[in-house]
Symmetry: C2
C-alpha cells in the first residue's frame, strides 16, 4: 500500500531518480512541491529545462560547458602536452579546485567494467586516442577513481598509450582505496597529484 | 565567483528552493540533471507538473487529496465529533500512521506568529469555526507543535472554542519541547494522544 496519495508518490518517485536522494528526503521535497504555488512550480520546471538546454559538452574533452570549448580547453594558459583523464566532471572539478594542475583534461564519462558489461566503446576512449594521435601529448595522467573499475580502466588505457610513446601516470596513494575522487580533501588531492607515478 | 558554469548554478539554485536541500545535495542533484538525457528530464518536469495538478485540498479539512473530500473526511468510520487540529499535512500523516485516532482533522496550514506577523486570518481558522458552528463537535484536540508559535496558536484557538462549549485538549507531554511533530516516533505519539489534557 502506498504511504501517500498517488500524485505525492509520483513526485517522490521522480525526485528519487536524482542522485543522492533517498525516500526520506524525497518525501520532504515532495511536500515542498505540493505546497508550492503552481506558477512557482511551472517556473521551477521551465528553469530546469532551460538550464539543461544551455549545458553542452566540450567538443575536445567532454567537460560540461556553455560553449563549444570548455573554460579549460579554451584557456591559452593550459599546457596541452599533459592530459589528465578523469571519470566524470565532478572529479575534474575536484582537481580544478586545487589549482595546481596546469594541463588539460579528458572526461571519460564512466569506466570500463567487465562485470557490468561496459567496454571501451561505452566511454570516451576513441576521442582520447584521437587527441593523442594528433601529437604534442607527452603525458597522460590516469586519474580514474581508486576502485576496481577505475583501476581496470587505468590499466587498459596505459596499455593503449604506452606503445605510442606516451608516459602514463597514476595519482599517488593518498586517496583512500575504494573512495570517490570528488570526496577527497584538497591537500590529499594535491599530494596525490605531486606524487603521481608511472604504471 | 560562481563555482560552476551558469546553467549548473541555476539548477542548484532552483533545487535549493525545495525543503531540506542544502548546497551539497543540490550540487549532487544538479549534476544528475545535467547528465540526464533531455527526454528523461522533460518527462521528469512534466510528471511533477501533472502530479501537482492532481493534488487538491480537501474542502472540509484542508488535507491533501485527489478528490473534493480527503480519505479521512470521506470515510464513514471516522468520528466527526472530535476534530484534531494540526499545523500541516505532515503532522496529520504522522498521527494517521499510529492508527489510534478515530476522529477527523483540520489542517491549519501554519501557525499564528506575532513575531513573523501571521495572524488568525493567515491560517485556516475561519473554516474551523464554521465546522464547529455547524454543531456535533464535542472536542477539539489542539495538536499544533510544542513550539512557541504552536503553543500561541493552541492557546488562541482554545480561547475561541471554549465559550462555544467545546472541550479543547492538547497532546500530552511526551513530544520533546521545541521538536517537530512529524519527527516523533509512533509510540511517543500514541502516548501523547492517550494522555491529552484540557487547556
Amino acid at each position: 500500500m502506498a504511504e501517500f496519495i498517488e500524485p505525492i508518490e509520483i513526485i517522490i518517485e521522480q525526485l528519487r531518480s536524482l542522485p543522492g536522494v533517498g525516500r526520506k528526503s524525497a518525501i520532504r521535497m515532495a511536500f515542498g512541491v505540493a505546497e508550492m504555488d503552481s506558477e512557482k512550480l511551472e517556473r521551477f520546471a521551465s528553469s530546469l529545462l532551460e538550464a539543461k538546454r544551455a549545458i553542452k559538452e566540450c567538443t575536445v574533452c567532454h567537460n560540461l560547458s556553455t560553449n563549444e570549448l570548455c573554460s579549460v580547453c579554451s584557456s591559452p594558459e593550459r599546457d596541452r602536452s599533459i592530459i589528465c583523464v578523469v571519470e566524470d566532471v565532478k572529479a575534474l572539478m575536484a582537481i580544478e579546485k586545487v589549482r595546481s594542475f596546469k594541463g588539460v583534461f579528458h572526461v571519460l564519462g564512466g569506466t570500463i567494467s567487465p562485470i557490468d558489461g561496459r567496454g571501451p566503446d561505452d566511454i570516451n576512449v576513441a576521442s582520447l586516442l584521437d587527441r593523442v594521435n594528433k601529437g604534442g601529448v607527452t603525458e597522460v595522467i590516469l586519474a580514474t577513481n581508486p576502485t576496481l573499475d577505475g583501476e581496470t580502466t587505468a590499466i587498459y588505457l596505459s596499455k593503449l598509450l604506452k606503445p605510442l610513446g606516451i608516459a602514463t601516470t597514476r595519482l599517488a596513494s593518498g586517496i583512500p582505496v575504494g573512495g570517490d575522487l570528488d570526496y577527497a580533501d584538497e591537500m590529499t588531492l594535491l599530494h596525490a597529484m605531486d606524487g603521481r607515478k608511472e604504471i
